[in-house]
C-alpha cells in the first residue's frame, strides 16, 4: 500500500508542472460550473431581494409548462437542434477528410485559417450578413436565383426556409472551427498504416474509409455524445438575432421564450427552472446515447 502511495507521489512530483498548469482550469470549472449548481435551488424559490427566498416548490415549472405556447416552443427547440445535429454534425468530419487529402501544406494552412475566421464573428454580425445576402428580391442569393430564372425566395421571412437558414449559418460559422478536433485525430494516425495499405494496393478512397474513418470513429462518437448534452441549446444568440415577426412562431425556442417572459422582467427563477429542465434532458440524452453507442459500437465516453 505504501509502495503504491510512493509511486503516486513520485508520479505527481514528476508531473508537477503539468498539474500546476492544470490548476487554473480546475479552479475555473469549480467557480463557474460547480459552485453555481447550488444556485439551481432558486428554480424552486421566489427570489427575495431582501431576506430569505421563499420556497414555492414547482411553481416556476408549472408557469413554464402551462404557457399556451410551451409545446410549440419545445417542439421548435427539438426540431432546430435535431436539424443542426443531423445536417451539420457530419460536415466538419467531411471537411477534415478533405483537408487530409490536400498535399500542399501552405494551401491547406491558408484555407484552414480562412474558414476558422467566421467562428470569431458575433451572431449580430453574422445575422446582418445573412439578412443582406438572403434579402428578397435584391439579396445576392436571390440575384443568382434570378439569373437562373428561379423565382426569388424570401428566406428570412419564410416559415419553410428559416430553419434551414439557421443550419446553413451555423455551418458557415462553425464548420472550420469544429473540424480542428477531427483534423487532430486524423493527424495522430500512424503513417505506417497508410504505407502498409499502399503496399497492399489500397486506393486513396479505400484508405480514407478503412484507415482514416476507422481510426477516428472513437473521436466522432465522443464528440457526438457530448453534443447530445447540449441538444436543448438550439442557439439563443443565433435565433435571437435572426428571428423576426414573420417567423417568430416557427423559431421561438425555450431560451428566447424564457428571455422574453422571464429574464427581461427580472424573473430569474423561471430562467433557472428552464435551465434545469434543459439540463436534465441533456443529461438523459448523454447517458442514453452513451449506452446506445456502447451496445452498437462498443465505444462510449466513459
Amino acid at each position: 500500500m505504501s509502495d503504491a502511495r510512493n509511486v503516486l507521489r513520485k508520479r505527481i512530483y514528476r508531473d508537477r508542472f503539468f498539474y500546476f498548469m492544470l490548476a487554473p482550469v480546475i479552479v475555473f470549472f469549480i467557480i463557474w460550473h460547480y459552485l453555481p449548481m447550488w444556485g439551481v435551488r432558486i428554480a424552486f424559490q421566489d427570489i427575495r431581494y431582501i431576506g430569505a427566498n421563499e420556497w414555492v416548490g414547482l411553481k416556476h415549472f408549472k408557469m413554464l409548462f402551462s404557457s399556451p405556447v410551451f409545446a410549440r416552443v419545445f417542439l421548435n427547440t427539438i426540431t432546430i437542434s435535431a436539424m443542426k445535429i443531423g445536417f451539420f454534425f457530419p460536415l466538419p468530419i467531411i471537411l477534415a477528410f478533405l483537408f487530409n487529402e490536400i498535399r500542399s501544406a501552405g494551401f491547406r494552412k491558408g484555407v484552414q485559417s480562412v474558414i476558422y475566421v467566421p467562428h470569431f464573428l458575433s451572431w449580430v454580425v453574422i445575422a446582418g450578413v445573412f439578412i443582406s445576402l438572403l434579402a428578397a428580391p435584391d439579396g445576392a442569393v436571390n440575384k443568382i436565383l434570378l439569373f437562373f430564372r428561379i423565382e426569388p425566395v424570401a428566406f428570412m421571412t419564410s416559415t419553410k426556409w428559416i430553419r434551414w437558414v439557421f443550419v446553413a449559418s451555423e455551418a458557415w460559422r462553425s464548420i472550420g472551427w469544429d473540424s480542428i478536433l477531427f483534423i487532430a485525430a486524423i493527424n495522430s494516425i500512424s503513417p505506417a498504416l497508410y504505407d502498409a495499405a499502399t503496399v497492399d494496393g489500397a486506393s486513396r478512397f479505400q484508405q480514407a474509409i478503412h484507415i482514416t474513418l476507422a481510426s477516428i470513429i472513437p473521436t466522432i462518437i465522443t464528440v457526438f455524445i457530448l453534443n447530445m448534452g447540449f441538444f436543448m441549446n438550439a442557439g439563443f444568440d443565433q435565433v435571437f438575432n435572426m428571428m423576426n415577426d414573420a417567423v417568430i412562431n416557427t423559431v421561438d425556442i425555450i431560451d428566447t421564450y424564457v428571455y422574453r417572459v422571464g429574464l427581461t422582467k427580472g424573473n430569474f427563477s423561471l430562467g433557472t427552472a428552464a435551465g434545469l429542465f434543459k439540463g436534465v434532458i441533456g443529461l438523459f440524452l448523454i447517458i442514453s446515447t452513451d449506452r446506445a453507442s456502447r451496445r452498437i459500437s462498443g465505444e462510449g465516453v466513459w
Binding site: 487554473p24 479552479v27 431581494y49 417568430i248 427581461t264 422582467k265 427580472g266
Partner: protein
C-alpha cells in the same frame, strides 16, 4: 525554472481574470453631507464627464436646497442593463436612486421601491413639469418617475421628393395615400416608408385615424383589445395595399433601426418614422450630409380620431428610490431639483467648456454637444435660454404637444404574461402575413378566433374588470 515561471504566470493570470472587477472603494464623506448612491444606464463613474456632472449637480443642489450632498455612481458591467442591474440588486448592492429599464415590477412587488405618489403630490415642481400621461402612469404604478416626452414616432419625408409630389401636408388617410403614391410614381425604385421589424412606428401616424384609438377600444359596449378590433382589420387592409404597391418597404420585417436610417440616407426610402425631438434632428443632419436635403415632419392622419396614443399603463423606464435608502426625502429632492430650470440647465446643456461656451452671456454649443445626453430628465416644458432642437426636432415636439392622446391602459399581471406573450406573437405573425399578402384580409377573422381561444378571453375579461 522557466517552466515554473511560465506556469506561475498562467495561474496568476487566471486568478486575476476570475476575480477581476472588484468594486471601487467609496470616497470618504464629511459629516453633515448626505451621500446618495446612484445607478443608471451608461452612467458609469469611469467616465470623466459623468464625474464632472455630479460635482456640478452637488453645487447646484446646495444652492437650491441649502443641503450638502455627495453623489456616487455605481458601476454596472457592460451588457444587458436590466438583467445586470437585477443581479446587482440581488447581490445586496442597492443604491439609493435606481434607473430601471424593465425588470422593476418584481422588485416593486416586494416593497423595495418607495411609493412616489405622496412625494409627487406635495411637490410644486413636479406638479408643474409632469404631463398628464405621466400623472396617469404614476397613479397606476407609483414607483417610476420618468420626465421625458412620450416616445411618439413622427413621420418624416425627405423634402425634395415631398415638394416634387406636390408639397401639400397630408391630413387624411386619403391625403397620405395620394402623397405616397405620387412619390412612388416619381421614384419607382424606392419605397416611400419603412419600419423596423413591425409596424409599431407607422402605427403612430395611422392608428387613431383608423379607429385604433387606444390599447383597449370599445366595441359592442365592451372593451376589446385593439389588435383584434374591426379598426385594426381596416388598418391592416390599408397596410396591405401600401405593401403591394411597393409604397411600404417590402423588407421592413428584417429592417433594424440602423438599416432603416441607412435606407433613408441612401435614398432607398423617402421617409421613416422617428422619435420626436433630437432624433429627428440627427436624421435631418445626416440626410443633409448624404443627400443635401432636409426633412418634412408630417402630422398624424385625421380619420376616426387623430393623435399619438400615449399609454397610461406605467412608465416602462425611469427613476426609482430604494426603500432601503436612509434619505428618501433628499433623494426625491434631488430628482425634483433636476426637474427645475437650474437642474435642466446642468443636465441638458452638458459641461461648460466642453459641450458649450458662454459668449457674451449666451450659450453657444460646441461640436461635442452632439455627444451629450441628459442623464436624469428631459422636461418638455423647460424654456431653454438657447434652443437645443433644430426645425425637424422642434416640429416633432410641437406635434406631440398638439396631438398626444391619452390611452387608458393597465399593466398585464405577471401570471398572465406567458399568455400575453403568446397572444402578441400570434398577432405579429398574422399581421405580417396579411400585410405581405400571404394571407388575404379575410384571415383576420381566423386570427381573432385563435387569439381568443389561446387565452384572449381571460385577458379581455380581466381588462373589462379593470377598465370599467
Amino acid at each position: 525554472m522557466k517552466r515554473l515561471l511560465l506556469a506561475g504566470l498562467v495561474l496568476m493570470l487566471a486568478v486575476v481574470g476570475v476575480f477581476a472587477g472588484a468594486s471601487e472603494e467609496a470616497q470618504p464623506v464629511d459629516e453633515g453631507v448626505t451621500t446618495i448612491r446612484i445607478v443608471g444606464k451608461d452612467f458609469n463613474p469611469s467616465e470623466e464627464w459623468n464625474v464632472q456632472l455630479l460635482r456640478q449637480i452637488e453645487a447646484g443642489f446646495l444652492e437650491y436646497s441649502g443641503k450638502q450632498i455627495a453623489l456616487e455612481l455605481t458601476q454596472v458591467a457592460e451588457g444587458a442593463y436590466s438583467q445586470l442591474l437585477n443581479l446587482m440588486l440581488l447581490g445586496g448592492d442597492i443604491p439609493d436612486l435606481i434607473y430601471f429599464q424593465g425588470g422593476d415590477e418584481v422588485i416593486a412587488n416586494q416593497g423595495l421601491l418607495v411609493d412616489l405618489g405622496p412625494y409627487v403630490a406635495s411637490s410644486d415642481v413636479m406638479q408643474d413639469v409632469l404631463m398628464d400621461f405621466n400623472k396617469e402612469r404614476l397613479a397606476n404604478y407609483p414607483y417610476l418617475l420618468w420626465l421625458a416626452p412620450p416616445r411618439a414616432r413622427t413621420a418624416v419625408i425627405r423634402e425634395d421628393w415631398f415638394e416634387e409630389a406636390g408639397g401639400e401636408i397630408p391630413e387624411t388617410i386619403d391625403d397620405y395615400y395620394a402623397l405616397f403614391s405620387a412619390i412612388k410614381a416619381n421614384h419607382p425604385d424606392a419605397a416611400v416608408v419603412t419600419d423596423t421589424g413591425n409596424t409599431a412606428r407607422m402605427d403612430f401616424t395611422f392608428n387613431q385615424a383608423f379607429g385604433v384609438t387606444a390599447t383597449w377600444v370599445m366595441q359592442d359596449r365592451a372593451y376589446v383589445y385593439s389588435k383584434v378590433s374591426d379598426a385594426e382589420r381596416d388598418k391592416l387592409a390599408f397596410y396591405q395595399t401600401l405593401y403591394a404597391e411597393g409604397i411600404f418597404d417590402n423588407e421592413y420585417i428584417t429592417t433594424k433601426w440602423d438599416t432603416m436610417e441607412d435606407k433613408l440616407y441612401t435614398g432607398a426610402v423617402a421617409g421613416v418614422f422617428g422619435t420626436a425631438g433630437i432624433v429627428l434632428d440627427i436624421y435631418e443632419n445626416k440626410l443633409m450630409d448624404n443627400q443635401g436635403v432636409g426633412l418634412v415632419p408630417l402630422p398624424p392622419a385625421q380619420g376616426v380620431g387623430r393623435g399619438y396614443p400615449v399609454s397610461s399603463a406605467k412608465e416602462t423606464r425611469g427613476w426609482a428610490i430604494s426603500a432601503t435608502s436612509e434619505n428618501p426625502d433628499i433623494v426625491f429632492e434631488l430628482l425634483e431639483f433636476m426637474a427645475t430650470d437650474e437642474g435642466q440647465y446642468i443636465d441638458r446643456y452638458g459641461l461648460e467648456g466642453i459641450h458649450y461656451n458662454v459668449v457674451n452671456g449666451e450659450v453657444v454649443f460646441t461640436d461635442e454637444k452632439a455627444n451629450w445626453w441628459p442623464r436624469f430628465h428631459e422636461v418638455m416644458s423647460w424654456d431653454a435660454p438657447t434652443a437645443m432642437l433644430g426645425p425637424a426636432g422642434q416640429k416633432g415636439w410641437d406635434f406631440i404637444l398638439e396631438y398626444s392622446v391619452g390611452d387608458p391602459d393597465f399593466p398585464i399581471p405577471a401570471d398572465m404574461s406567458p399568455t400575453w406573450d403568446a397572444l402578441e406573437n400570434l398577432y405579429k405573425e398574422y399581421s405580417f402575413k396579411i400585410i405581405s399578402g400571404e394571407y388575404g384580409i379575410d384571415k383576420f377573422d381566423d386570427f381573432v378566433a385563435e387569439w381568443y381561444r389561446l387565452g384572449g378571453d381571460d385577458i379581455t375579461e380581466y381588462a373589462n374588470s379593470v377598465l370599467k
